[in-house]
Amino acid sequence: MNPSMAKPNWILSLLILCCFIFPSVLFATIEEESQKEEFNEELLLKPLPDRKVLAHFHFDSKANFFSYNGGFHLHLFPKAIYQLVHKFHVKEMELSFTQGRWNYERWGGFDPISSSNAKPPGVELWAVFDAPPSQVDALWKNLTHTLSGLFCSSINFLESSTTYSAPDWGFRAYSGSLRYGTLPREAVCTENLTPWLKLLPCRDKAGLAELMDRPSIYRGFYHSQRLHLVSSGFGSNSVDSEIELEQTLTVVLQPSTQRWATSYSTGSAMQPSWSLRTIFGREINKKCILAKSSNVYLQLDRGLVSEMKKKGFRPDFATSDISITNPAFELSPSPEKMIREVDNLNDVESSILYVFVIEKYVDAKPFDLVLTWKLPVAWSCSQAPLLANRFLMGSGNERGAIVISLKSINHHQSLVGTGAYGEKCNLHINVFQVVPWYVKVYYHTLRIYINGQVQPAANVTRKMRVSPSEDKVSPGALELALAFPCSMKSAELSLDFDKGFLHIDEYPPDANQGFDIPSALISFPDFHSSISFAEDSSLSPILSRLKKRSPALAYTEVLLVPLTTPDFSMPYNVITITCTVFALYFGSLLNVLRRRVDEEERRLEERAKRKSGKLRQQLQKLFARVRGRPLEQHPNPSAPSSSKTNSKLIMKVGLMVLIAVVWQYYLR
């Protein structure tokens, strides 16, 4: 055996050895952690430019199932969600309950929180299924019913095929068995929050969720409760499977305004000082012992930091034992550490994150975070390149137009290098719009105005997918990828529509209020909002969430279309009037058939002969006139006959005039 053969042999034996050792090692680890469940809770607080405070609760449950075998036994992960994922083959799902509208202008439109947590009002649900396309609709229907039971809401209305659509690429980057539906009018309240909290291992008994005082969070300007789950390995026969459940609650609250002071020197008002106690009315008394980490973060925006730097305050604040102070504000208790955003582009504008680890504080006394401003600061949040609005045009009950208006933010020129398309500088946006079937949109009427000038759609459109609505079967969906020139100041997209008629039993209660057109989604595929911090983000789910690159999104307003509403007693009215007409016709026909004309005339003659009393005659005259038959008087036959012909003539003329008028005004 020569050496060249010997070497492979040696390697082979090593390999075989490895084959024997490795599985045993692997098995050991599998046995050790056949199931790994983890729960993290975090709260991000952020002062907003318009004197409000953003509170973003983030609860993250993860479960790994290495030996998945059907009936699983759970320790931390909510059983209901596990069964839901397992039963309906959900690969990814997001459900949000929102009240109020995210103010993109003031609260920011280009940061991870706004692009993932700014949601359209009402309920939005989308789900990706790990199932063959033929089963997806059935799974979706069952899922909506289950969720509606789970969250005490009317998500089951999304069951009907007229309410959900299957977007291809306009909603999310990948296609597949995705279904998307919204209920813009769903009222969101505490009965939706309670079942949502039930999914947390500590519920609101301990930990950050203790802060969720119902009156305070529902008093806010914006309230969005979201549930996002990603699963893997359930549909296939792979050994290990994983579910990650992310529950977030985003609220924008107004701190109580008692300690406001206007700074007259600068003319701008002082930011309100606040504490957890003043904005929520509660403090954190106990930490959730089941949570792996339980942190509170205070984020200072890029704009705020740069503004403070401009004013000469150094960002590395002087730290004392109980609180940190700098000339602009004071924080107590002092944070565990300060993390700075790592931004390669410009060093100046980087946001700052103060970390408070709850375990360190709670043991001694309830945790309360107090932020006191000392100097007025004014700043603005980072914006998406375009500000999207949507409105209706036209009046009346017949037709109208939907217009999506996109306005450029002044400083968007600085963001322009991103979408280089050919040689020109381009700004790419995607529009996704679902329209219910009774708003019959004519997609060929799509007009695009740039800076007020009509542009041929072909110049701007890169990609377009239209799935027209089908009456009473499916809604219409428009997915549009556009490329605007960078020099653009404003753009408008308009689509004409006709208002359709619904069947009488398709009208919802209170139909006169109007019908909602769900929000359109404008996404900017070239603008990715992410904030990466110097800290290792794998330790904290919220940091890794912030770091994740996601395209900037903006939802437009919900539109309210008034449709013609019928009188709902109409069917019975129609029935009654038709039947009466028929009955009249039938009765008179029958009577005509069995009438004895000459007999009656003879009788009338005789009667007239007999009774010549004045009063009687008058009465009879009246009677005859009412009957529409000329009175025949025998004593002087000449005069009445002339009057009879006269009245007949007048009647004929009148009838002709009436017919002419009707012809003129109505039938033409």
Partner: protein, 625 residues
């Protein structure tokens, strides 16, 4: 209608009698009325021509066409009703209500080592059977054998073997099986004897086929105190010094009270204590509740418990219910009452009057399960770990003693087991964050308690002892929780309950459907009813030949299908097409038209009669003249 009134009024007006003379004659005859006959001819009383029947026939024609058309109209507005076999449905319910199911039971008694005076097996068999009839008495409980049993007797005597006549198919005790020397010494070891007898009797069981199972009792004559034991399979044994009468008495009592009635006084299941859902499914939802995770967090290896301890039970109960198992751990789940400290026992005590408040439905989010859709039943098994503030937590029974199991059941809801961590000092010898796992030994104890609770939920006794009138009988506990004869008993009772429930459901469906003629009945409901009746019939026929398990499965199907048909969603739509609606739609047309048609017909008829009489008087007058 002016025309009508004008046509009718003149004859009745007395003032116009004379002037009406002319009017009443019809147009055709007016010119032929000569003046000279006017004194003789009173036109108000007679006429010369036959009255015409044109108008009368027209109105009558319209009237009759309306009457004829009415059935067609009703037919056209008829709603679809799938034809239901009402006759069978009613007959099923009446049959099952009038005569409860009778299951055949077969018993055999084996007498070992008796002296030769006892040699007439047939006589002994009839003695036992008579005694059993006495014990059964007038028990009408459904699911028992009542008087539908056979008893065979084998006598293994020193000189030979005697068997009774009715052991026809030779499926009986084979003599000489227990002759081994070491058997005699081991009669004390119950488990050993149980296995031994099972082996000895299984030959007999095999040949019984589907034709019922044989319950056996072996009576062994020995010089010692009398002991009676019932094993895990379908047999028991009595050892001791017994006279013939005593032996017959005891054998009969064990046959009736244990094998037929399961050691309980009340025979059949009451509807409100039926632990199986209407679709024949049960979800066993195990929850481990950590009352306060700040004190300690306990975890369990439920996977292992399920595989080793729970799955055999689930499999054993398969004919009776389709059982699925799931588990979860919940935290922050305090109970909703306060216990009191007892210095003497060194424990926190709660007693039976606190039990209604133990389940704190505000904080215990036990949750329903997606596995339990529709009408299936969830039985919650809750293991409650008290917080450190009230540990150990013990249940005081009404008689003042401390409960051995420290748990209780709530019928139809499930069971609660309180488990106190050892020593109640969670911080000693643990990891830093107070996380522990319940030791497997403790889990086994918990499952043992659960098994007792499950037996109680299914209506069996939880202790392994039956105290009869003459003696106490020891019941061996099976590792599957339920011994074979208990499963037979459950199968019989559940078959009976299911069939009764199916019959009442179908009976009320039939009454409901017949009482609401405008209710839409879909084909699906018809199919479900049909299948349910089929399954019920099969279950009955299986029960009559003694195939307990098959009849239990079929009866479950019958019940579930009957419930499905009764609660079919389309039945709810009855109110949308009511008779009132139909009336409101059609009356605006038919009411006024009917008025016209009827009045016209009546008037024409009256007129015709009047005119005819006039004509007849004229005719008579003419004949006279």
């Amino acid at each position: 209608m002016p025309e009508i009134s004008r046509g009718e009024n003149p004859p009745s007006e007395p003032s116009t009698k004379n002037s009406d003379k002319m009017a009443e004659t019809s147009a055709g005859e007016s010119e032929s009325t000569p003046e000279n006959q006017s004194e003789l001819f009173d036109s108000s009383k007679m006429r010369k021509t036959k009255p015409g029947i044109k108008r009368l026939s027209l109105t009558l024609c319209v009237l009759f066409s309306f009457l004829l058309g009415f059935p067609f109209l009703l037919k056209s507005v008829e709603i679809y009703r799938s034809p239901l076999p009402f006759k069978y449905m009613d007959s099923l319910s009446s049959v099952i209500e009038s005569e409860p199911l009778l299951f055949p039971c077969r018993f055999q008694a084996v007498f070992l080592g008796f002296n030769d005076e006892l040699n007439d097996a047939d006589k002994l068999g009839s003695l036992i059977a008579d005694r059993m009839r006495e014990v059964v008495g007038h028990d009408r409980a459904c699911g028992s054998c009542r008087n539908n049993f056979t008893v065979s007797v084998s006598l293994e005597l020193e000189k030979g073997c005697v068997q009774s006549e009715n052991g026809e198919n030779g499926c009986l005790w084979q003599c000489g099986l227990l002759k081994d020397a070491d058997v005699a010494t081991k009669w004390k070891d119950d488990d050993f004897v149980d296995e031994l007898l099972d082996n000895a009797l299984s030959g007999g069981q095999k040949c019984s086929g589907s034709n019922g199972k044989v319950y056996s009792i072996v009576v062994v004559e020995k010089d010692e105190e009398v002991r009676a034991v019932v094993g895990k399979h379908r047999h028991g044994w009595i050892i001791g010094k017994l006279s013939k009468e005593e032996a017959v008495e005891r054998v009969a009592e064990i046959f009736v009270k244990v094998f037929i009635n399961g050691g309980k006084e009340e025979g059949s299941i009451h509807g409100e204590f039926m632990p199986v859902g209407a679709d024949g499914r049960v979800v066993l939802s195990f929850s481990l509740l950590n009352a306060d995770p700040h004190d300690w967090i306990y975890n369990w290896d439920f996977q292992r418990v399920n595989e080793i301890l729970v799955t055999p039970v689930v499999e054993a109960l398969a004919p009776i219910a389709n059982i699925s198992v799931e588990s979860q751990i919940l935290y922050h789940t305090p109970k909703s009452f306060f216990s009191h400290w007892d210095d003497q026992r060194g424990a926190y005590i709660y007693d039976s009057k606190d039990l209604p408040f133990f389940v704190n439905s505000n904080e215990w989010h036990l949750d329903t399960s997606t596995a339990a859709g529709g009408r299936s039943k969830i039985l919650h098994i809750v293991v409650y770990i008290p917080s450190e503030r009230e540990c150990p937590l013990l249940l005081q029974l009404p008689n003042g003693e401390i409960s051995m199991t420290n748990g209780f059941i709530s019928p139809m809801w499930g069971g609660i087991i309180v488990w106190n961590p050892s020593g109640c000092s969670g911080h000693s010898g643990t990891t830093t964050d107070g996380r522990h796992t319940i030791p497997f030994k403790d889990l086994e104890n918990i499952v043992e308690v659960f098994m007792g609770q499950l037996r109680q939920l299914f209506g069996l006794k939880s202790e392994g002892l039956y105290v009869g009138s003459s003696d106490r009988v020891k019941l061996l506990a099976s590792e599957r929780g339920f011994s074979n004869w208990e499963l037979d008993l459950l199968a019989r009772q559940h078959t009976c309950f299911n069939l009764q429930s199916c019959a009442t459901t179908l009976g009320s469906l039939s009454r409901l459907v017949q009482s609401l003629p405008r209710m839409i009945i879909k084909d699906e409901i018809g199919k479900q009813v049909e299948y349910s009746l089929q399954a019920a019939n099969f279950a009955q026929s299986n029960a009559s030949v003694g195939a307990y398990d098959d009849s239990a499965v079929l009866s479950r199907q019958a019940r579930s299908l009957a419930e499905d048909s009764f609660f079919h969603p389309s039945i709810m739509s009855v109110s949308y097409y009511s008779f009132e609606h139909c009336f409101a739609v059609y009356s605006p047309f038919f009411l006024p038209v009917a008025l016209h048609v009827l009045l016209a017909a009546v008037k024409e008829w009256k007129r015709y009669k009047q005119e005819k009489s006039k004509y007849l008087t004229w005719k008579a007058k003419e004949v006279v003249s």
